[in-house]
């Protein structure tokens, strides 16, 4: 269905310019890439446009000019519906906080992406709940009673791990994480990143991990500083 690519880049951004309506440009990036299976750390101060870049990659936003190639699909020229499809089929997203839909159970949250992607549904097969439990187990959430709890009753660390399981559900090619650990203490943070990297490695997903905390760079294959590649450089 989608133009399959044989390229080695999971994400390739060229000559990208973006401005929020009525604001000066936030992003002006000549080149940014994420290789398939790579674990990349993207660093940048607050307000530098990290989340905005992720929105462009996820196809929720469209650039003014330039290309945003995700697995061979140019998100800049695709229709909105096709961008949504690429995101549903190939991306897993983890936010900084409040990742979970409050009225769904833990497993309901983890299996949520399957509702919007037949491709991922097919990959997981019939036993979606079982797969969700397996993923949660690998991420250290094994306690059965924990799975029955309201998601708002979970600790922040637990919530982030549920979000990670959801991002990995159905084996997406890319997982993007927008400061998922900023609300966690140092131990929980490192443990979370380890588990996430491990699971991403197991499924072969590329990981694009965003944070303003430069000290995390050591946990990744490669690190990129957004302020270095972004010519729009914000003073904020």
């Amino acid at each position: 269905m989608q133009p399959e690519t044989a390229g080695t880049d999971a994400i390739r951004v060229d000559n990208l310019r973006f401005a929020w309506p009525g604001h000066p440009p936030v992003l002006d990036i000549e080149r940014f890439t994420l290789h398939r299976g790579e674990k990349l750390f993207l660093r940048g101060p607050s307000g530098s446009g990290k989340s905005t870049l992720l929105g462009l990659i996820a196809g929720v936003l469209s650039p003014e000019t330039g290309t945003v190639d995700v697995l061979g699909n140019d998100m800049a020229t695709l229709s909105a519906a096709k961008r949504d499809r690429v995101r549903a089929d190939h991306l897993g997203v983890i936010f900084q906080m409040f990742n979970l839909v409050p009225y769904l159970s833990v497993t309901g949250n983890v299996t949520l992406p399957l509702h919007f992607s037949p491709a991922r549904r097919a990959k997981v097969g019939k036993d979606a709940e079982g797969e969700a439990r397996r993923l949660l187990g690998r991420l250290g959430l094994t306690n059965e009673t924990l799975l029955g709890r309201r998601v708002s009753d979970l600790s922040v660390g637990q919530q982030q791990r549920v979000a990670a399981a959801r991002a990995l559900m159905g084996g997406p090619d890319i997982v993007i994480a927008d400061e998922p650990t900023s609300a966690l203490d140092a131990d929980a943070r490192d443990r979370f990143i380890e588990l996430l990297s491990e699971e991403a490695g197991r499924t072969g997903a590329a990981l694009l991990f965003v944070s303003h905390d430069a000290s995390l760079a050591r946990l990744f294959d490669r690190a990129v500083d957004l302020s270095e590649i972004n010519k729009a450089g914000v003073s904020a």
């Binding site: 989340s51 995101r87 991306l91 990742n99 839909v101 409050p102 949520l112 919007f116 927008d178």
Partner: protein
């Protein structure tokens, strides 16, 4: 679609307290609307079923609605009467097949007393051409025999043989004006008809004259109490006047001509009405009020639907995060739109359903009482087409109303990107 439905359902459950209140608002508004409608159609059917098979009703000139109301529904009073000779002229007309003379104006413990003759039991029909049926006993034969309607028997606890005292005039508190020396006796009890007949005491025309012996001047003659039963029987009790006449024609085709001839009667002025026509006139009078009432209840429904809109719109801000999560896992803006319209539609649907349930439970409880008191059947036949149409209309309106917050969320989900600043 199924997944979206499940999401909408769970989201509603999650906010059940506020959703329940909104749902209740819709339910009550729908119940009000259907209640008004059922009372209206019930009244029409009830009235429409009260008389059938009678071609013309003839009385002294008055409003046609007035004549219909007092001659059939025992509401209000006749302003004038027809003389007996004029009645006899009518009864012997070539184009008239049968006549039923009736005489009203008296009461027994709050129930109207009607004087008539055998023709009444033979020709009066209600509903879809049903004739009167005796639950017990027979027609009156003797001067002091009375036949009572089903409600009279039940409410007063009368049975065959029960003596009763008929008084002149109307009103429940008729002590003092009662004629203790003119005791009647129940000889027949009619089966229930769901019409004012159930609340009527039927006696012979002669009996009506007998009740009035001693009242010729309009006030009670002090000597009247000394008149014995035997003396009364010896009087000429042929009525001098009657209140109205039900008539059946030999050929239906002549109805307009017959009516015109009666209305332009040379001697005593008369008025003939066609029951269906007079009813239609009555409904045209009440239609204004009905329409106003329906309009009000439709507005109340609109308020209910708007409250759905409001409740969803106000929840949007706190659900902004949820929307961006849904977007992140691959939901299209159309999904967001669909989710919110579905939620609104579900509230509308369930609210309307609850409203229908409330109305029917109320009818089940209050129906027999209304029937007994007003002779109006509240469509106790269970849910019908009106209910279904109301359900569909309210659901449709709710979906439409839901489109407004859905559109707002749709636009916002496009503008927010992935990062909602909270």
């Amino acid at each position: 679609m199924k997944a979206l439905f499940a999401l909408a359902w769970k989201s509603l459950l999650n906010r059940r307290a506020s959703v329940l209140l909104t749902l209740l608002a819709v339910a009550l508004s729908v119940a009000l609307f259907l209640g008004v409608d059922k009372a209206r159609t019930g009244a029409r059917e009830g009235f429409g079923h009260t008389i059938s098979g009678t071609d013309l009703i003839i009385g002294a000139p008055t409003g046609s609605v007035n004549l219909l109301l007092y001659s059939v529904f025992r509401m209000g009073n006749a302003t004038a009467e027809i003389s007996w000779p004029t009645y006899q002229e009518l009864a012997t007309r070539d184009d008239i097949a049968w006549t039923v003379p009736i005489s009203l104006g008296d009461s027994h413990r709050g129930f109207r007393v009607m004087g008539t003759n055998h023709a009444y039991f033979e020709h009066y029909q209600y509903g879809r051409g049903q004739s009167l049926r005796f639950a017990k006993g027979v027609e009156m034969d003797d001067l002091f025999d009375a036949v009572i309607g089903a409600d009279v028997a039940r409410e007063l606890g009368y049975d065959i043989g029960t003596p009763l005292v008929l008084s002149h005039g109307l009103g429940k508190a008729d002590f003092g004006s009662g004629h203790e020396n003119r005791p009647f006796r129940v000889v027949g009890i009619l089966a229930p008809t769901g019409t004012p007949v159930d609340r009527t005491v039927i006696v012979s025309l002669e009996a009506i004259t007998a009740i009035h012996v001693g009242w010729e001047t309009g006030a009670k003659n002090p000597l009247s109490d000394s008149i014995t039963e035997d003396m009364i029987r010896s009087f000429n009790l042929t009525p001098k006047t009657i209140t109205a006449v039900y008539a059946g024609l030999k050929r239906k085709g002549t109805i307009l001509r017959t009516r015109r001839e009666i209305n332009t009667n040379k001697g005593e002025p008369l008025m003939a009405i066609i029951p269906g026509e007079a009813l239609a006139e009555l409904w045209s009078v009440t239609a204004m009020a009905e329409r106003a009432l329906l309009a009000v209840s439709i507005f109340v429904i609109a308020v209910g639907v708007v409250s759905i809109l409001t409740s969803i719109l106000t929840s949007l801000n706190e659900r902004r995060r949820e929307m961006s999560i849904l977007r992140a896992v691959g939901a299209r803006p159309g999904h967001i739109f669909g989710l919110l319209t579905l939620e609104a539609g579900l509230i509308g649907f369930l609210g309307a359903l609850l409203g229908i349930l409330i109305v029917h439970v109320l009818i089940l409880i209050a129906g027999p009482m209304v029937m007994q008191r007003y002779g109006i059947s509240l469509g106790g036949t269970g849910p019908g087409m009106t209910d279904l149409l109301t359900l569909l209309a309210v659901t449709g309106a709710s979906l439409l109303a839901g489109a407004i917050p859905a559109w707002a969320a749709f636009r916002r989900s496009l503008a927010d990107g992935l990062s909602v600043k909270l």
